[in-house]
Each structure stands twice: as C-alpha cells, then as structure tokens.
Symmetry: C4
Subunit: 252 residues, 4 copies
Amino acid sequence: MDEYDVETVADPDLSEPVLVEGLPGVGHVGKLAAEHLLEELESELVRKVYSTHFPPQVSIDEGRAELAAAEFYAVTPEDGRDMLVLSGNHQAQDTEGHYGLTDTFLDVADEFGVDEVFALGGVPTGELIEEYDVLGATTTDEFAETLSEAGVEFRDDEPAGGIVGVSGLLLGLGKRRGFPAACLMGETSGYLVDPKSAQAVLEVLQTVVGFEVDFATLEERADEMEEVVRKIQEMEQQNAPAPSDEDLRYIG
Amino acid sequence: MDEYDVETVADPDLSEPVLVEGLPGVGHVGKLAAEHLLEELESELVRKVYSTHFPPQVSIDEGRAELAAAEFYAVTPEDGRDMLVLSGNHQAQDTEGHYGLTDTFLDVADEFGVDEVFALGGVPTGELIEEYDVLGATTTDEFAETLSEAGVEFRDDEPAGGIVGVSGLLLGLGKRRGFPAACLMGETSGYLVDPKSAQAVLEVLQTVVGFEVDFATLEERADEMEEVVRKIQEMEQQNAPAPSDEDLRYIG
Amino acid sequence: MDEYDVETVADPDLSEPVLVEGLPGVGHVGKLAAEHLLEELESELVRKVYSTHFPPQVSIDEGRAELAAAEFYAVTPEDGRDMLVLSGNHQAQDTEGHYGLTDTFLDVADEFGVDEVFALGGVPTGELIEEYDVLGATTTDEFAETLSEAGVEFRDDEPAGGIVGVSGLLLGLGKRRGFPAACLMGETSGYLVDPKSAQAVLEVLQTVVGFEVDFATLEERADEMEEVVRKIQEMEQQNAPAPSDEDLRYIG
Amino acid sequence: MDEYDVETVADPDLSEPVLVEGLPGVGHVGKLAAEHLLEELESELVRKVYSTHFPPQVSIDEGRAELAAAEFYAVTPEDGRDMLVLSGNHQAQDTEGHYGLTDTFLDVADEFGVDEVFALGGVPTGELIEEYDVLGATTTDEFAETLSEAGVEFRDDEPAGGIVGVSGLLLGLGKRRGFPAACLMGETSGYLVDPKSAQAVLEVLQTVVGFEVDFATLEERADEMEEVVRKIQEMEQQNAPAPSDEDLRYIG
C-alpha cells in the first residue's frame, strides 16, 4: 500500500463545495458534529483515504473487517451550499503523517473544487460549560468577519497552545495552498464527549453555509451525558470517590 | 539490507494453499497454534522475511546467531488443503512497519497462489476461561458463513478495539488486494500463555481446512499452565500476595 | 508540503553577514536573546522555513493561524556587521529532523553569504546564578581566541553532555560545511526563563559583532523574574510547599 | 548530510584485517576493551561515520565541537593480525538506524578486506562477578570451535534476550553478507562500568587474533571500581541507604 492511498468510491459533481472536517479530538466535538451532519442530511461516500500513518488496525462491524481509513462524503442539501464532509475514527500516529494526510485531504478538496475549508473541533476549558461559546481561527480577515457576524468569538492568543493535528494543519497548509480556511472550536470541559458543544458548532455552520438540520438526536445524547454528570455530582456530595477524569473522558 | 528483504529458501509447488499466520500476540495463541501445526505436520521452510522494522536483534540458539525474521513454511498434509504457515518471534516496531510487512507477506502469499488467508490470534476477556469460544472476523460474507458452520462466533462490535497488528492488516490489506481473509480469535484471559485457546483455534482450522493433528503436547502444556493457575489461587486463598498480572503475563 | 520548505519573503543584499540563531532551549536564553535583537534593531523577515518535522500545529494570534515555522530576519545595524537572525517557537520533533533542519538553515546561510555562525543558548547549572558567565564552544582555534578576548570562558569537557539540537548541529554540520561556528551559552539555573542570561550572551555578541542595543526591556523582564524568585524563597522559609521545579520551568 | 556519511581520513593498506567493534553497551565492556586496544597499540584514524540516526549532538573537548560519529582505526601490531577497530560514543537512536549503520560499518569492513568480525560487549548477570567468564555467539561452527579452544563458553539459549544493537546486527547482517562473525560477551553485573570484564574479553581476543597488550591501566581502573563497590557494601552493612542501581550504573 502507498503511504497515502485514495480510493475513489463515487464521483458526483459538486458545485463549489465547502470542506467540513470532523475527525476525533477534544470532547469528540468535531467528530460528533460531522457525524450528525451525515445522519441528518443525505450523503454519499465518495472517497476513502488509507495511510500507513494510521494505526495498523481493522475495526470490526458485525464480523466484517474494515481497514483504518478517513472518509469523504458528498452532501448536497436543498438549502445552502454543497459540502464535502471528512470523517473517520483515526488521527495520524506521527508528526509526518499529520502533514502528509492533511496534504492528501487538500488534494481531494482540490479535485472537488472546494473553495472554503471548515475544521470542526473542541477547545478544552477544564470546567463544565454553562454557555457554549464557539471560538474561531481563520486564515483571512474576510472569513473572520463573516464568522464574527455568525456569533463566533475571536480572542487574542486563544487557544493558547494553538491548534494541533489535522484541524490545525487544514488552516496552516490550506493557507499556503490558497484555501480560505477556518476552525470552529466549541468550548467543552474536555472531560466528556460533548454533544452540546457539537450542536453549538453546527449552529454556526448552519448560519454560514446555509443548510438546516434537526438536533433532536444530539439533544437526546446531551441529556444522557447530563444524567452522567448529575450522578457524578451526587457522588461527590456524598463524599464517595468520584470517577476519575480518565474515566469520564471515555464515557459516551 | 532492504527495508523488506525476502530470502528464498525453497520453492515447492503448492496447490491453492491457505495462508495461516501465527505471530506473537495476546496469550501467544496464534503463535502457539502455528508452532503446533509445524511440530505435528511435516513442514519445509520456504521463505525468510527480514526487515529494518523488526527489532535490531539476533537470537542465540546453541551459540549460533539468527537475525530477527519471520518464516514461511510449506505444509502439505495428506488430508486437507496445502498450507503456507507464517510464524516468527517478532512484530514490527512501528506503524509503517506493520503495513509494509503485511504487504510483503501478501506478496509471498501471491507467489504461492494462496487463495484464502487465516490469521490466528487471541482475544482477551480479562478473566479465566471455562469454555473456549472462538470469535471470528472476515472480509466476505461467504467466508463468515463457512466459519459459522464450523462453530465460530460472530458478535456485533467484538473485539471492541478492532484487531491490531499483522493479524488485523492481513484482513484489511488482504481485502483490498482481493484475498478472502478471516481472523480466528480464541478467547483467553490475556494473563497467561494459553495452549487451550490455541487448541480451540486449531480445532476450527482443522474443520475448515481439512487436516488433522494430535493435541497431546498442547494438552500437556495446558496442564502445566493449569498447575500454575491452581497454585496462584491457593496463594490468594491464603491471603499471601499473589503474583501480579504483570508476572503472570510472562509465565510459560 | 516538502519535508523542508523554504519560503522566500524578501531578498535583500547582505554584506558577509553573521548568522545568529536563537531557537527555544534551556532557560529560553537563545530565544530571548534573538527576540531582543529583533525588537531593538530594525529587521526584515526574509525567509520562513516549514517542515514536516515541526509539530503539526498552527499558532493563533488574534484569530489568525500561522503554520509552525522558523524565521530568518535580515538585520543591518549602523554599527557592526550585517546579521541574519534565526528565530522561532519550535525545535524538530525527531532526530532526523534536527539534522535536516540544520542543513536547511545552513543552505539559507549559504545563500546570504554568511561567513560566521553564532548559536545562542543556555547552559543549566542547577542553582540560581549570581554572576552570569558565558561559556563557549567553537569549531576553530581562531574563533575561540576572539571569543576569549571578549570574556567567553572555555572549560574542559563543559558542557558535559555536549550541545544538543540545532545549536549543537550548527557547529557540527557547520564545521563539515566550512562555516566557522561558535556556541555562546549563558549560565542559567535551568528552572526559569532567564533574561539576565540572555543579556550576558548579547553583551558578548555586541563586542564580537559590533552592534549596540538597549537592555531596558530585558532588565524589566529580569526584575519580574526576580520578584518571582523572591516570593518562592519567602514561601520556602515559611515552610509552605514551594512550587515544583516543573512549575518554575514554565514561568515567564 | 546524507543519512549515512563516511568520511575518509586515511587509507592505509591492511592485510586481511579483523574488525573489532566496541560501541557503548552493558557495563561499557565493549567500549572499554576497544579503547584500551587503541591506547596500548599504535593506531591511525581512518574513517569517521556520521549519521542522521545518531543523536543530534556535538561533544565538547576543550571548547572544540565534534559532531557525533563512530570511528574506525587501523591497528597493525607487530605480533598478530591487522585490526580495524570500531569505536565511538553513540548507538543509533532508532530501529532503522541500527540496521543502516551496521550495513555502513560492514561496507567499510568490505573496503579494507576484513575477513572476520569480532563484536565486543558485556552480558549482564545481575550480581557482582567473581570469575569473569566470556560467553560467545558466532555465525559459523568453525569460528565457534576456535573460540571454544580459547576458553569462550557457549551456552544454550544464552543470552536469553539475544544480542541487541550493532553487536547483534554485525552477526545477523554479517552472516547474510558472508562475514564470519563472533560476539564476545564478558560477564558483568550490569550495574557498574566493568574494566575487569573488558580485560577478560581482551584476553580472549589476544589469544585468537594474536596481539599482546599491557593491562596495567585497565587494572588500575578496576581497582578504583572495587573501591567503589567496597564503600557501597560498607554503607549497606551500616544500614545507610545505599546508592541506587541507577547511580551505580553511571559511576566510572
């Protein structure tokens, strides 16, 4: 297998689509958001990207094996612009893989004529969130203005550590290759899978890209998570040893 | 030395052999099973595969040094189909090595006209096993059906973490290269080298591939392991500090 | 993106400039020194070096994303020789990256006709420093003599562990490529960002290269750090648990 | 710089020399032995091998920087065969580097017409040694016989973990390239730099290769180490906390 191997599954025509990336990360915010899009809107699998920088692993679904891959779906909603949605279960396992995979993803974006890139993710605050702000980072002032009008916050030096992984490189390499790119980061505690943060991010994306989705299933999932949080807080009040952060990180 | 270096030791004709892989892994189930095959049936070393992704190491046997390698043996039992058995003491040391070695192994399989791949391994349950079920994962529905009839269990989303390493990639890359491939995973505690789990896996393989082997030496080894387990349980009842999981993992 | 990617931002003529490197390291001495130069003297960004060996990361400044890079600035002070100042926020993430980046940096130095290389850094002593000595290491005896006259100390087998990273390789690879190169290492505790050590290093560089800068802002920063140290010592006297070394390392 | 870069320093004619390797390892036995050879016999530096797989580091000797390298010396003693002695302060930092460096070392051996390879090292026993046996491993039966006659012990499955790093690969890759190769491993506690173990290894080498060296300086160094051991044992008897293994490992 090549270091980066793009499999063409379908080749629909898209009209100046936006790329929407939601790979695993903090609070699984980006991944939840991308998957919710794919569940609520009609979508077609168009590309699979395999790489020797992904974990050497197959996932098993009802006894059938699937090689680790990232997947591109074409989404053509009635309202709003066409989208190319990038989802998957893995990040690259090493530094060079992050760069190489992001370049490969931008090659696919090029093929489909993508003219704007949205990387979705979460930004950890370390505490439970009451109001779900969405932070932004972009490569152009025009893009920043559009997002500001949609309620995205731009703060000096935030996130302090920059943006790491594919989301960050879609901006860094995207800028060098001439794609206007933005990262939408939902605030999240960082301790729990966070459907509410994913919803906040998607609400911004709806406004900017122009589609509409139902949030019922995401809200249900959020209710389940709140039940978990409520139980933890009860346990804490009873002085029982609470589940550790490590436990919480993987609930959901 | 090349990154992947295949040494031809012998070149017998095999008739549509199946590839049987048993490299080190959970409970050493796959490796025990493959080695038992090679002890019980006549076999001929046909290929050695060296790689700069194997540990930089020689093993010493009676003062003679052998470079880290994986080995292919030709097995042509009287009953049943010809087999190409892949065994060895090492896994690749990095992500790219897992992909590259698996591709190299499938190249050898191609050369010998292999038309079905069996990866043997263990699936850890975290507790001592009473009844040794064999879990399966395949790349085709037909293959799954055959294995189901032979008693292999297919469970939704099991193993939960997918299959990692060469065993997993033989399915993932095998599928992409057109090999029907299956992984047979014997349940095992994960704490001990597990000859009983290896026997359970081999019994399925016997049924499907059609050969027959004696299990006496594997049963002896299993009795030795049970003696170890019995002693540990005694120690636990006497409230003596039991050997840690870490200790147990390497017994045998 | 290529493994090493040099972006030309400007191309001024420099007259036999010296290369002055100040990337992150012990006590951030080199980086503080290089940044102080760039703040106090007029400078022009001339090259950006991107690499797949840098962290897969963008930094965010007022909502705008910048891909991890090292930067070369041209400095042409009224007094003294022209300088090419290399600064940035990152070191390579792996061994080969250190070698490859240093070679790339020397390629840029070649382009600009650099004829002497100064790597700036800190050498950890493990205790708070009263008098800030500057240790030296060079590739030629002539260079060592010049530096000795400027007050740089040369000690047998110091630093004991040699010099690691880009600073070390600028000497090692520089020597092989014919650049006279020196490393100026300010003594520093190793626990705190150390503006005083940076000043000591710059004072040597002033003498040798012939420019002049004001140290007021560096002295202010040093006063702030001393306040931090004073508070820590107070806390220690009150037997309160002091901040750990780990905490201190990142103050500043 | 190339991944592996061989610098020719001198090019004397050697007559069917043996290669003697002594890079850092257990108890620094191999390195001590090789360095003692170079101190006691006349030698000439003939090759330096640089590599991007060595640490990105220069060592400093009286203020002069030297890039990490391995060095080959030509030794032509009056009695006995010519030798090519390989010494240095570093091992490769990764798996592929071990393979690539060993292949590069064997290329140099080829150039000089080497017809036998001796890798020198230590084998850790975990306890202080009374009688310093030398264990052997070879690639040919003839070589084993010669060494047995010189007092080298060959034990089944020892060392249990095989031989790791350049010493192991000189046998593994050497065998594949047609060099008869042997590893001479002096028993050593593994806790201390061990000049006595180095002497034991050199005494075997003297017999087999036919040179003669004085051991006075090695014996002095051994006396110093014994003094260290005596003090530790005293401290233990006084129930004072003894230096940890970790401390001891770096004494000397």
